[in-house]
Symmetry: C2
Subunit: 324 residues, 2 copies
């Protein structure tokens, strides 16, 4: 099928065409990548129309349950919701959301939702690129809320924050010492903090945790910003607090403004281009025969203090650029 | 003077030879850089013998006063102390420490201390490289405590943390909302938090602030680590608490262990080599005529959503690698 026809099918909401296009974007085969890029180039004018939400939080906090409840609520309101995942560990597990299918049953069945597990294999950079492209494809297919979930291993939260309009951090109803699962710097990425499981016996500790998070945030975020990060409480299980989350998303978008959002997305696109360039440059560098032949020895010499780092770097660069 | 002779002078503690070598390392002239690298290569076996401390904190917290008091105390104990600075804003101000000379009077006069302002000009990466090299030169000159200070603009704290054994964050005697000066993620770099100005009227708020910081840290750092970040209180003015800081430094080194320290430094050296390579690759990329000719249009196309980021990156890469 030619590119234009596939693009048209995606634009008119053909789910199988969308799924196949994402599969192409995820492929490591050069001809697949090329086709995916061509498709994306055609569809680009149809993208940008969704509220892009990133959601992260420690394992077991209830990300899947929250997305199921929140996404279902949005669909009741007339939205169309796409859920994508970034899981850098997916090389091993085969994707976190897949195993969660049961916890997103309603979404998985809804014609107004599209749930896609994390692409398997590859570096975080590669996974992030493919998820970005999947997000754009979902927008072209008319989904007006796109949710990118990550389980939060290492740098994946930053990758997610760099592709969404708003980054929501989901936290458990227990503050202080029990927040070990949270990685360095993640709290500071959050535009919105949501304490889940504010129900039953956990209600009181959820309230305490929210207060603790709020004071930690005050210490970490300048008060001068346009946006004060709110700490909300929800129960995914009892489906409470979900509308408040959506309202906070709306307030955040309003605070950004049209122009602010456009600037943010333009900066993200440029940063994405540069991270692609960085990745490719390093890959080309490592693959260069003259570099490959010397790299191990250079790293050893630098590690053991036999050669200054700058000297080793300069020599490898010269080899790469063909000056030796 | 030949390299060997200069190296010998530095090793035997000739301060003018050391100062000149650092000036060479800071120079952007290719022949100077070459000479500096050659010198460093000769001196490398004489490096590694210092306790490397990074110190950062918001403007006015008392970094200069603390280093003056702390460094003087160490000298009384028989140490030799070198103080270097990283100040990414130094392009404009001409270096932060220079203007502070008055606040490091004792150190500046002491034959057992060496105070060097931040190299002026250039990118943070460039400044960081030169400071690393200055640190190694100071070690070769027999300084057994090296302190790298940064005023904490943007990413400079990370650059400092990446070149020292221990990163000390100096904080004011006021927690909560007043901690606006602290940049994202910096608290999480700290191996040791020190509240300054714990004296006079400020004693009570210093104590309160220390407690607040301690609880914020509990929320940010996993309790499972080998090292619990201590929060100490000092007064640089009244020279109190300084021995406790030095003891904490010793405990940190002991917790790392000889092998741990060697591993940390080897990893830092490798990371330094890679950051040099990254910087140089990007510089070569931007300077390539075929890239330079297209870059502005590519960035605009990506920003405005006219071209997918991956496509723009691929095309620029092909131009750089001579494939178009
Ligand atoms: N009490 C209560 N339990 C909840 C709530 N949301 C989720 N849970 C429970 O928490 C557990 C984990 O929920 P998940 O939705 O799988 O959490 P997750 O964050 O997706 O977990 P991973 O995918 O493993 O990282 C399950 O046992 C849920 O039933 C809630 O709002 N209240
Ligand atoms: N009460 C009290 N004041 C202090 C103490 N240490 C420094 N100060 C005062 O705090 C002010 C700033 O001190 P500096 O040492 O210049 O602080 P700094 O962090 O180096 O400042 P910048 O270099 O501008 O970032 C001065 O007025 C000092 O006298 C202390 O221990 N107690
Ligand atoms: Mg899950
Ligand atoms: Mg100062």
């Amino acid at each position: 099928m030619d590119i234009e026809e596939t693009a048209e099918r995606i634009r008119t909401g053909d789910r199988r065409a969308l799924a196949r296009a994402i599969t192409l974007a995820e492929s490591s085969r050069a001809d697949h990548r090329e086709r995916a890029e061509a498709l994306l180039a055609v569809l680009l004018p149809a993208t940008g129309g969704s509220v892009r939400l990133g959601i992260s939080g420690p394992p077991g906090v209830g990300k899947s349950s929250f997305i199921e409840a929140f996404g279902s609520r949005l669909i009741e309101e007339g939205h169309r919701v796409a859920v994508l995942a970034i899981d850098p560990s997916s090389r091993v597990t085969g994707g976190s959301i897949l195993g969660d299918k049961t916890r997103m049953e309603r979404l998985a069945r809804s014609p107004e939702a599209f749930v896609r597990p994390s692409p398997t294999g590859g570096s975080l950079g590669g996974v992030a690129r493919r998820t970005r492209e999947a997000l754009l494809l979902c927008e072209a297919a008319g989904f007006d809320v796109t949710i990118v979930e990550t389980v939060g291993v290492g740098q994946s939260e930053t990758a997610v924050a760099d592709m969404v309009d708003l980054f929501l951090l989901l936290l458990p109803p227990a503050g202080g010492d029990e927040l070990q699962g949270i990685k360095k710097g993640v709290v500071e990425l959050a535009d919105l903090v949501v304490v889940n499981k504010a129900d039953g016996d956990l209600l009181a500790s959820a309230r305490r945790a929210a207060a603790e998070y709020q004071s930690a945030l005050r210490m970490l975020r300048p008060t001068t910003a346009d946006w004060q990060v709110p700490v909300l409480q929800v129960s995914a299980r009892e489906e409470r607090g979900l509308d408040e989350v959506w309202q906070a998303v709306g307030r955040f978008r309003a605070a950004l403004g049209e122009a602010g959002l456009a600037r943010k997305r333009a900066a993200q696109a440029r940063a994405w281009m540069w991270s692609e360039i960085d990745d490719s440059l390093i890959r080309a560098f490592r693959a260069h025969p003259a570099v490959a032949a010397r790299l191990a020895e250079a790293e050893a010499a630098v590690s053991e203090g036999r050669q200054p780092a700058a000297t080793a770097a300069r020599e490898l660069l010269a080899a790469f650029l063909g000056r030796t």
